[in-house]
């Protein structure tokens, strides 16, 4: 599978990564290379093999339904470029 320049531009936009126009051909080439390698992997017969999700036998860790966190408004807002009256303030998002 090959990625064309238009697709590379679109993927970059979806990921909100700014890629200059002249860098797009190289990026498209790299993405194509990765997907070609994936296609090679796809040739391996994995019929009946469970996908491995962890290298050690682990169970998903659970927490109890208890409030143990929060009430740190100042810390949460500390890195925000702009915050007012306890809210994050962002450029107007019009729907």
């Amino acid at each position: 599978m090959s990625i064309d320049i238009e697709t590379a531009r679109r993927v970059a936009h979806l990921a909100r990564i700014r890629v200059e126009e002249e860098e797009l051909p190289a990026l498209a080439g790299e993405l194509s290379g990765i997907l070609t390698f994936m296609e090679e992997l796809n040739e391996v017969d994995v019929e009946g093999v469970e996908p491995m999700v962890s290298v050690t036998p682990m169970r998903l860790k659970r927490r109890a339904d208890v409030v143990t966190d929060g009430d740190i408004q100042a810390e949460v807002l500390k890195n925000a470029p702009d915050a007012r009256e306890g809210f994050f303030a962002v450029p107007k998002v019009v729907e």
Binding site: L14, R16, V53, S54, M58, R59, L60, K61, R62, R63, A64, D65, V66, V67, T68, D69, G70, D71, I72, Q73, E75, V76, L77, D82, R84, E85, G86, F87, F88, A89, V90, P91, K92, V93, V94, E95
Partner: protein, 503 residues
């Protein structure tokens, strides 16, 4: 065994300019899980807190923070699945749904696209006695809610509150089995009732704790039946999704509008674009959400921060053992055990608190009489004052005591209403009030006979008339009841009046 035999309601038919059309509706209901803490963090879910105070570094998506699942939210999803007679998947997994929006700091929502925790189930939506729609549930998955953006506090800025970010939602996805706007609202109502019975979602639509995305398409009569036979969607029209509605009334209005919009396009030779639309309640119309179009490429992939969610059958069985009685079963039991009508049983089981209240009143008493007093007197009075059953000044024990007094013949039905009023406004023990205020019904025939004799003696002209026309005996009964302050037993008065007049 429950008797759940019913026939399907007729689909809604809309007359277009050229031909008849039918509606096909499927819904995605987002129900906020009732829990103390969020799905993947220890922050509170409490509504109405200071902005950004129910936020942990996990919710704010600070670098390096990892999600840890709240086991109770998983239990709630399982309980909901069992309540909808659904298959529980012992192995489910979380995926990332990627999009950018200011109230989604992670840049993705953790959801369950490929392996949801709950599989196929059903909801029976009653439209009239014996008429119900069986709506198939396709799946329920667990996911994170987003935050809240406020756009009207500043002309140039939007304000973001992350308190809701990461709160657990159950997305309940139905099959396209709903056939009209009323059915859609009834489906949401039934789902809400079941969730409230289960205690898995409070169903508060005003606060946004229950909201629905509605998929609407139209087709010619007959096409839907072909879809049901084959499960082949190509028999159905192209659908549009109306997003995020939190009112039954808006859901109905939006479906009505959307159906007519699609019919007009199709009859004009046009084509429906599959798209997401928003309902504008002020204008009463739906409009396209073009801005989100591109963002529809969500690039789902398994969430690398979370192992698959594996649960044990024994745990599911344990939850199943602790299931409460659900609305359909409770209603059927009320009808069977207390001899209630379909309507009364529906009213009394609509809310769990009301059902509990009624059962306490009816226990060991005449069920029909108890239902009558709970629905007509108590609910009527509470509704007039805008109160919920939980705020009732009359307790179940007090209302039960009033029913007892009527049952024993201590008070008449009319006096009972006065007594109810006293108990409602002043409180107190009904039996003591009756005793203290001399409200007891006179069943002593001697006393009643004396009153009857007096009325007859005082009205010789009426006596002559009544002898000619026995229907006029009722006038004497009325006079006697009046003379005794409504305390004479009406049946005894009737009998005595008839005898004394020689009727």
């Amino acid at each position: 065994m429950l008797d759940l035999t019913f026939e399907a309601p007729k689909p809604k038919v809309i007359q277009g300019a050229k031909s008849e059309w039918e509606l096909v509706i499927g819904m995605e209901v987002h129900a906020q899980v009732s829990s103390n803490a969020k799905l993947f963090s220890g922050a509170s879910t409490r509504f109405g807190a200071e902005p950004n105070s129910n936020v942990s570094f996990v919710d704010a998506a600070m670098p390096g923070m990892l999600p840890v699942i709240n086991e109770f939210c998983v239990e709630q999803a399982v309980r909901t699945g069992l309540g909808l007679k659904a298959a529980i998947n012992l192995r489910s997994a979380f995926d990332r749904k990627n999009y950018f929006y200011p109230d989604l700091p992670q840049g993705y929502q953790i959801s369950q696209l490929y392996h949801p925790i709950v599989g196929e189930g059903e909801v029976i939506v009653e439209m009239a006695p014996g008429v119900a729609r069986r709506v198939r549930i396709e799946r329920i998955h667990l996911e994170q809610d987003a935050g809240k953006s406020i756009h009207d506090m500043d002309p140039a800025m939007s304000f973001v509150d992350l308190n809701r970010t990461g709160v657990a939602l159950m997305e309940i996805v139905s099959r396209p089995d709903i056939r009209g706007p009323e059915e859609a609202a009834a489906y949401v109502g039934k789902l809400r009732q079941i969730l409230r019975y289960l205690g898995t979602c409070d169903g508060n639509m005003q606060n946004g704790n229950l909201r629905a995305d509605v998929n609407v398409s139209v087709c010619r009569p007959g096409a839907y039946e072909r879809y049901q036979e084959t499960q082949d969607f190509s028999h159905l029209g192209t659908r549009c999704e109306i997003k995020n509605m939190n009112s039954m009334r808006f859901i109905q209005a939006a479906i009505e509008y959307e159906a007519r919009r699609q019919i007009a396009i199709l009859e004009d030779g046009g084509k429906i674009d599959q798209e997401t639309r928003l309902y504008d309640p002020d204008k009463g119309e739906t409009r396209s959400m073009r801005s989100k179009e591109e963002a529809h490429d969500y690039r789902y992939f398994p969430c690398p921060d979370l192992l698959p969610l594996e649960i044990e059958q024994a745990w599911v069985d344990d939850i199943a053992d602790r299931m409460p009685e659900l609305p359909d079963a409770k209603k059927a039991r009320f009808m069977a055990d207390f001899g209630l009508t379909d309507y009364d049983a529906s009213v009394l089981t609509a809310e769990l608190d009301a059902a509990r209240f009624f059962e306490e009143v009816a226990k060991g008493r005449d069920g029909k009489m108890a239902a009558n007093w709970v629905i007509n007197e108590l609910f009527g009075r509470l509704k007039k004052e805008g109160h919920e059953i939980g705020e009732s000044p009359v307790s179940a024990a007090q209302l039960g005591a009033i029913v007892d007094l009527i049952g024993k013949g201590d008070i008449s039905g009319k006096i009972a209403k006065d007594l109810f009023e006293i108990v409602y406004t002043e409180g107190g023990d009904p039996a003591e009030i009756v005793e203290a205020r001399g409200m007891k019904q006179v069943t002593d025939t001697g006393a009643i006979e004396k009153a009857v004799d007096e009325v007859i003696a005082a009205n010789p002209a009426q006596v002559e008339k009544a002898k000619a026309n026995p229907k006029l005996a009722g006038w004497f009964v009325g006079q006697v009841l009046k003379a005794t302050g409504g305390k004479a037993n009406p049946a005894a008065v009737n009998e005595l009046v008839a005898r004394k007049l020689g009727l």
